[in-house]
Amino acid sequence: MKSEVDVIVIGAGHAGIEAALASAKLGMRTILMTLNLDAVGNLPCNPSIGGTAKGHLVREVDALGGFMGLAADHTMIQSRMLNKGKGYAVQSLRNQVDRALYQQYAKISLEKQNNLELIQMEATGILLDGDKVRGVQTHLGQSISCRAVVVATGTFLNAAIHIGLESFAAGPENSKPAKELTESLEELGLTMKRFKTGTPARVHRRSIDFAKLKRQPGDEMVVPFSFLTEEMLYNKVDCYIAYTNKNTHEVIKKNLDKSPIYSGNIHGIGPRYCPSIEDKVVRFGDKDQHQIFVEPCGLCTEEMYLQGMSSSLPFEVQREMYRTIEGFSDIEIMRPAYAIEYDCLDPTQLEPTLECKGISGLFTAGQINGTSGYEEAAAQGILAGINAVKTCLKQKKLILERSGSYIGTLIDDIVTKGVSDPYRMMTSRSEYRLYLRQDNADDRLTPIGHEVGLVNDDRWKKFLVIQDQKKAEINRLKNENISIHLFSKDLIQNKDEESKKNDVQKAYILLKRPEIKYEDITKIIGEIQGMSNWVSQKVEVEVKYEGYVKKQMERIERAKKLEGKKIPQEFEYTHLEGMRLEAREKLSKIRPKSLGQAARIPGVTPNDIEQLAIYLKIYSENTEKTEDDV
């Protein structure tokens, strides 16, 4: 191991992988430290990548030149596009992946990367020189010099596993937790929080009676995550759906006193969106059943994952509970469900670059920032990696706007609002969701990835070709006239009077109709040879959403006015005596960069913002005056 590098990444989970690859690809000498080389790119919870809004994140990471999309395609065993029929903007891709293969693929990709040294080593401390990072201390006593550090330790900091009233210090899969690093971060003045999350049991395939479950196959046409994936992908497995029943709920209620959460042994705050089965039964007592998705963990294993049944009840109770379920009467648990408690940072201590405020060169990414999920981790990892490089090169750091990506939305949310429970991305978190679609992730982010240097020339050329084809095809649609009688009768029946009078229309106008698909149009005007599915999908969605996107753009412009009202770094809130104390405290803590960001801080009301705007005006007038006097 080198004793001096540019960037050190601590943790080889989904955030660490993206950060390390980005750093190394951009030419930095990089070390990636992991507690266990066999656990690189682990999927300690569900064996799937993507899902609502998370799928968007994966596409965005890919568009920037990241790793996750390619890995999810390469190891895909079943794929589904969720939310079909609810509008393109909220459609999300989800891949079931082969967990072991995913880890292998991640490990080999890291191993083959130039400039990157992958090593099994525990980081025990961050070394500073004043307010600048100078290196990392390891458990073997070395100190390695570097110019930037990305801490991506996931749930390992001070981790404790709970199963029933038993608990022991351990990270995911009973691995070694990281203890000293938390203390080191606290010594740097960072405030930590304690969160918890959980995972369901893995069970043996042969112990499930699949005849009693509902089969859930993958999509007929599989769409890849990565804009680079060209090979056709095929489903290899099915998933299944089972349901809990009254008996299951009885077992749970009877044993609540043995749950570490209900008995008070766990103090960490769990995710609202990912409740344990105990939570579901207690909080939604009127529901007679809850859904369980039975998902294979891979092709080379008989382990099955029971999504929806995360629990921290004692092992025997788990078995009793699972066995009440139709199809599970002989269930054989291979890994018990457990809850895990861990330390994380209060993310309001971070800049939107993911650098810790006041500590130059220290970045954090992933679950350590109070988020949850592989995709959320990867999204932060790639940005932290890019900005670690920018620190080394003394370049202006990259901030992704919330109006331009879900990655930007995620980061703006956590650094501005903080987190009260583990943060999961959802489409409802973005006010720009009609524009932030998965089909246009490359349009939005590949130019940024190219400018940063993560998108190589080959990919950039390919991107430009797609853009040209898209433009040309949209132009063609604007010029082609189609008689509506050429469409099949079912398609255009019951249509308004106007179209009867106006029976020849531009293809572009017709495609805007919800019932007409792009392929209905090309059946009439012919296809363009050599145009990929990517392009035809982009054309279809772009034409249909043009009006809405225009509206969103106006909103983005409006928002930019507030975002454009910068708050000077030195601006003091404490003496604004006219302002509510709560607002002053919140503003002093977050130190927003603009009036727009200030407006998103919870506890700061629109009235406070109006006051702040007046104070800022007075402030800038006074400063100008003073400058004039000089």
Partner: protein
């Protein structure tokens, strides 16, 4: 009462107020205390009175404040005011105390607006009416609208963000039905606002007619006060004179225009030009004719072309009509015959009734919940527009991602109105209402 507010208010008051009890000083007086003493302007006694002391932040504006109650009457109070100004105070701009109260966090925007409405309200009914806006009812209705939008939004977002879980699916017909119900509420509020605006702004009534047909007499009759100069010489009224009268609690802004005549001197031409401006902003045009000279009346083209309600008053009925009224009757929406001189009370009632009928003025429902100003109306209009857009989808099919954006905008608009940040409220509701999550 004179109010002095600001960090130096006590220093200013000290210079003009000398407590009778020599042991007491304004400087040492605690908040909410009162002192009796003499009011002086540069050592000359002006009046005697009470000084009430408020210490920051426990005052209306949130600043140190002194309120001096002196003897009534314009002369005394203006002398006291002069004394304050001499002592270093600045005169307050309209609404300044309220503005300061807002800036100092003593009231929110809605309250501040309600106060300003109260200050500027014009008639008694208006006063009690706008007082009402400070009441709970408006807040309650807004809260209802907000809660309903939020609940629809939470259901929609739970259904979108958790496609595989047992969130009840959003049924198009039920959903649109809810939106329709909400829209009725927003429509009612917008309609009531228009009525309220009418009341606040007043109705513009423009009196037109040949010179010296008695417009000014009628004008005075309606405002029950002698303001226009009434002379027998044609063209006396050259300026627009505006005065207020009241019908059903609505202020009526009467303007008496220079007679519309071709030619005349320059002053008169200027008057005529202004009359045209008046006509274009009028709510109702009132043509005044003299009974004895109707035959001499030439058709007024402006009046004929205007789409505004038109009333014709035939005045001086005691003189008797010189011609058959049928000739001109069709030019107007209504015609009344009065004699302002002989039966003034009857004339006034007849004219007011006619205006009330033509403008369809209804007495205000004292229970109506009113948006207090243009800003609030705009926010409510935004809510209404968003709901309209969602309903417009119904003719094709609902595209839920777009629908969700309109709902979100409606929710933000109502948040703007209430001065609340609503962005996280939906998520809270998703998690509390729906059992979602793996």
């Amino acid at each position: 009462m004179i109010r002095i507010s600001g960090p130096e208010s006590i220093d200013v008051a000290k210079k003009i107020f000398v407590p009778k009890n020599a042991k007491k000083t304004l400087k040492k007086a605690p908040g909410y205390s009162a002192l009796y003493g003499n009011i002086v302007n540069e050592n000359i006694l002006v009046d005697s009175g009470i000084a009430l002391i408020f210490r920051s932040p426990h005052s209306y504006t949130g600043e140190d404040t002194v309120e001096i109650s002196c003897h009534g009457g314009d002369t005394v109070s203006s002398e006291v005011l002069a004394a304050c100004l001499n002592a270093g105070a600045n005169i307050a701009q309209p609404g300044e105390f309220t503005k300061r109260a807002f800036l100092n966090g003593k009231m929110d925007l809605q309250e501040a607006e309600a106060v300003i409405d109260l200050i500027t309200s014009k008639t008694m009914q208006q006063n009690s009416y706008f007082n009402y806006t400070r009441n709970q009812r408006k807040t309650q209705i807004m809260e209802e609208i907000k809660a309903e939008i939020q609940s629809l939004m939470a259901h929609l977002m739970a259904w979108i963000d958790y496609p595989e879980e047992d969130v009840p699916s959003v049924e198009e017909q039920d959903f649109l039905g809810e939106i329709q119900k909400l829209k009725e509420k927003t429509q009612r509020m917008l309609g009531d606002f228009e009525k309220g605006q009418r009341q606040k702004r007043g109705l513009r009534v423009v009196l037109l007619g040949e010179p010296n047909v008695g417009k000014s007499t009628l004008f005075n009759l309606l405002v029950e006060d002698q303001r226009s100069i009434v002379t027998p010489i044609a063209g006396t009224t050259r300026d627009i004179i505006r005065e207020e009268a009241e019908i059903c609690g609505y202020p009526i802004l009467l303007s008496d225009t220079a007679g519309l005549r071709e030619g005349g001197d320059e002053v008169e031409e200027e008057g005529i030009r202004r009359s045209w401006d008046e006509i274009s902003s009028a709510d109702i045009l009132v043509q005044v004719l003299e009974a004895g000279r109707i035959s001499a009346y030439e058709e007024n083209l402006v009046l004929k072309e205007s789409q505004k309600p038109k009333l014709c008053i035939v005045n001086k009925s005691d003189q008797g009509c010189d011609t058959d009224l049928e000739r001109i009757e069709n030019d107007y929406d209504m015609m009344v015959i009065v004699s302002a001189k002989e039966a003034p009370d009857e004339a006034r009632e007849t004219i007011k009734n006619a205006i009330r009928q033509l403008l369809q003025i209804q007495p205000l429902d004292p229970d109506a919940v009113l948006l207090s100003n243009q800003r609030q109306r705009e926010s409510m209009q935004k809510v209404d527009d968003c709901l309209a857009k969602i309903l417009a989808f119904a003719k094709d099919q609902l595209i839920y991602d777009d629908v969700s954006i309109y709902l979100q905008e409606a929710l933000e608009a109502i948040g703007e109105l209430k001065g609340e940040n609503v962005t996280d409220a939906v998520l809270e509701e998703v998690f509390s209402k729906f059992c979602v999550g793996k």
